[in-house]
């Protein structure tokens, strides 16, 4: 043993180095099994949504009054609803609407929040104070109530829901962006750039923005589930997407009237929604814990 030790260092480093690198690259999925499972579930939804016409066994809006309100059978795995529409097909197509609305709404909210947050963080003085109170005012209204108010002005429909939910999410994004801007603004490289008399907008574009965009991207992934929940809540209230769109919230609301004898009508789209939300929450938590420097324990 003692004779062989001099050899060990010469052979170990080459094998050890890629091994540790490999381990740290794999570790996110190994260290967080729930995160991995949740990510697989979320990706499965995405695939089902993209390939809905290929995956769904029936046309989601095809009505068949011979098979109204059938419990789950081999022919209709999730049963049928009060119009004889196949619930499984509607759930699969519903993933499309949920994800499209969720993703685009979050992007609108993030864009709006970026603009207001940057303005509030950079301006300083009285206008910063006023902008902050504006953000407070937006935050004083829960996103669903705000979305209801926007729907009241805009009307119903998929595009209107995307805009309403997006606008209602500006507040939280603006607050995070402003917080990040405040941290970046006092950094030495910003001062250096200003001393080099680089134009102000260029400093913002080249030095402030890149430092704000990444935390914002993390926020975007975390808040997709919130957007999906708010949009399906609007549909559930009957003021979001209009029938016969295969939207989960709408399907749950339709099934509510038949809950005593056809509980699967609400339960199937409901569990589809719940599973996606739980998966997205776990993925979001994982991403935040991995990438948020404030939450990271090890340096």
């Amino acid at each position: 043993m003692s004779i062989q030790t001099p050899e060990a260092p010469t052979t170990l480093p080459p094998t050890a180095a890629p091994d540790t690198a490999n381990r740290s690259r794999r570790s996110v999925f190994v260290r967080r099994p729930f995160f991995t499972i949740a990510l697989i579930v979320a990706v499965a939804y995405l695939v089902a949504a993209i390939f809905a016409p290929q995956v769904a066994p029936f046309d989601p809006v095809q009505q068949d009054f011979n098979v109204m309100m059938q419990p789950p059978t081999v022919g209709h795995l999730f049963g049928t609803d009060s119009y004889g529409q196949d619930i499984l097909s509607r759930v699969i197509y519903g993933a499309r609407f949920a994800l499209i609305i969720g993703i685009f709404a979050v992007l609108i909210g993030a864009a709006g929040g970026l603009v207001i947050g940057l303005a509030a963080g950079l301006s300083g003085g009285g206008s910063e104070w006023a902008l902050m109170r504006l953000i407070d005012a937006i935050l004083a209204l829960p996103s669903l109530i705000l979305a209801v108010a926007f729907i009241a002005i805009l009307g119903q429909g998929v595009d209107k829901v995307v805009i309403a939910v997006g606008l209602s999410m500006i507040g939280p994004f603006a607050r995070t962006v402003r917080g990040d801007v405040l941290q970046v603004r006092v950094q030495l490289f910003i001062e250096a750039a200003q001393l080099m008399s680089i134009p102000y907008l260029r400093v913002v574009w080249r030095h402030v923005l890149p430092n704000v965009i990444f935390p914002l991207a993390v926020q975007v992934t975390i808040r997709i589930s919130e957007a999906i929940l708010v949009s399906s809540s609007l549909s559930f209230l009957g003021i979001g997407v209009t029938p016969p769109t295969p939207d989960w919230g709408l399907m749950i609301a339709e099934g509510r009237d038949f809950v005593s004898f056809a509980p699967w009508m609400s339960a199937m789209p409901g569990f589809a929604l719940a599973l996606l939300l739980i998966a997205l929450t776990i993925v979001g938590d994982g991403i935040r814990e991995e990438f948020d420097p404030k939450l990271r324990k090890d340096p």
């Binding site: 935050l139 829960p142 669903l144 209801v148 739980i278």
Partner: protein, 316 residues
């Protein structure tokens, strides 16, 4: 401290001002010309102009806003044509109490269940109980409340027939019947908060239990229940109150959904039918009440810190 409080109140009023301008602007943005709607399809330009002057719609925006704000504060909120009532009576005296009853009932529920659950998870850290309650808490925060409500109706009201399916009885008029009708909606709404409070209590209590004063209390030989429930739990009050204040919005939007599931005549139903009936005045009233409630409660939370934490009292 008084100065600080006054500053916070002033700040709150400014936020409220912004909200009111925005919700007044909401009315202005609403599609359709109110004068055309009031006059119907046939009218002369003269009657159009005279009505416009009469309603003050020819005035500048700020004058119109001031006019509206004065009337709003006085309780003159306009008339709802769908509910056939003064909006103030309909929204403030009828819908708001229902929502507040449901919200406070759920909050009480959530604290009574969530705090003990969180304390137990913190004390039994890294055991099966802790892991189990962590999974439940995660599911609870992500599970859509309206689905949970329907499942509870299906199981407890339809299958077991233990509770009424829907309907509202005011606990102020018939206490026990009111509570009976509130149990399923309250459970539906509080699930998210039970989960959230459990997670928060666990996380903060674990930190608190590592503090020197806990070690000191243990060293004095105090029984372990006293260390946890008196010295420990007292120190989680502040983060708990803060988060609950900030999460009030979630509670209010939860009531909107829960009311729809259980057919409770609260702000949620009011808002939904107002949107469908294009009654912008009612939507505006709902928005204003929600915002005022949220802002007011958070002001109270801010002002309550000195009472919860003696260390803040000493500081000037």
């Amino acid at each position: 401290m008084l100065l600080q409080a006054l500053g916070k109140i002033a700040q709150t009023l400014v936020v409220l001002f912004f909200v009111s301008v925005a919700s007044f602007g909401l009315l202005k943005l609403a599609p359709g010309d109110p004068i055309q709607i009031m006059l119907g399809s046939e009218y002369s330009q003269e009657s159009y102009d005279s009505l416009k002057t009469e309603l003050g719609l020819d005035q500048p925006f700020l004058v119109q806003y001031a006019d509206w704000a004065v009337r709003f504060v006085q309780g003159d909120w306009g008339t709802s044509y769908v509910a056939r009532a003064e909006i103030f009576t309909y929204a403030f005296k009828e819908a708001l109490p229902v929502t507040l009853t449901l919200a406070s009932f759920s909050l009480a529920f959530a604290i009574l269940i969530g705090v003990p659950l969180g304390v137990l998870s913190a004390v039994k850290k890294d055991t099966i109980f802790d892991a189990g309650s962590a999974v439940l808490a995660l599911t609870g925060t992500a599970f859509p409340s309206f689905l949970l409500g329907i499942l509870l109706i299906w199981f407890f009201a339809v299958k077991l027939q233990l509770f009424p399916v829907m309907g509202y009885v005011s606990p102020w008029e018939n206490f026990w019947l009111g509570i009976y009708h509130m149990i399923l909606p309250g459970l539906t709404l509080s699930t998210y908060f039970i989960a959230m409070i459990t997670r928060l209590t666990r996380a903060t209590l674990i930190e608190v239990m590592e503090q020197p004063y806990i070690t000191a209390a243990r060293a004095r030989g105090e029984p372990s229940w006293r260390v946890v429930w008196v010295h420990g739990v007292r120190n989680i009050a502040m983060p708990l109150v803060t988060i609950l204040g900030l999460q009030l919005g979630v509670l209010l939007q939860g009531t909107v959904l829960t009311e729809t599931v259980f057919n409770l005549p609260g702000i949620g139903q009011m808002l939904t039918s107002a949107v469908l009936g294009r009654e912008y005045l009612v939507v505006q009233a709902g928005v204003m009440m929600t915002a005022a409630l949220f802002i007011g409660v958070n002001l109270l939370v801010d002002l309550s810190y000195p009472f919860l934490d003696p260390r803040l009292r000493a500081r000037k």
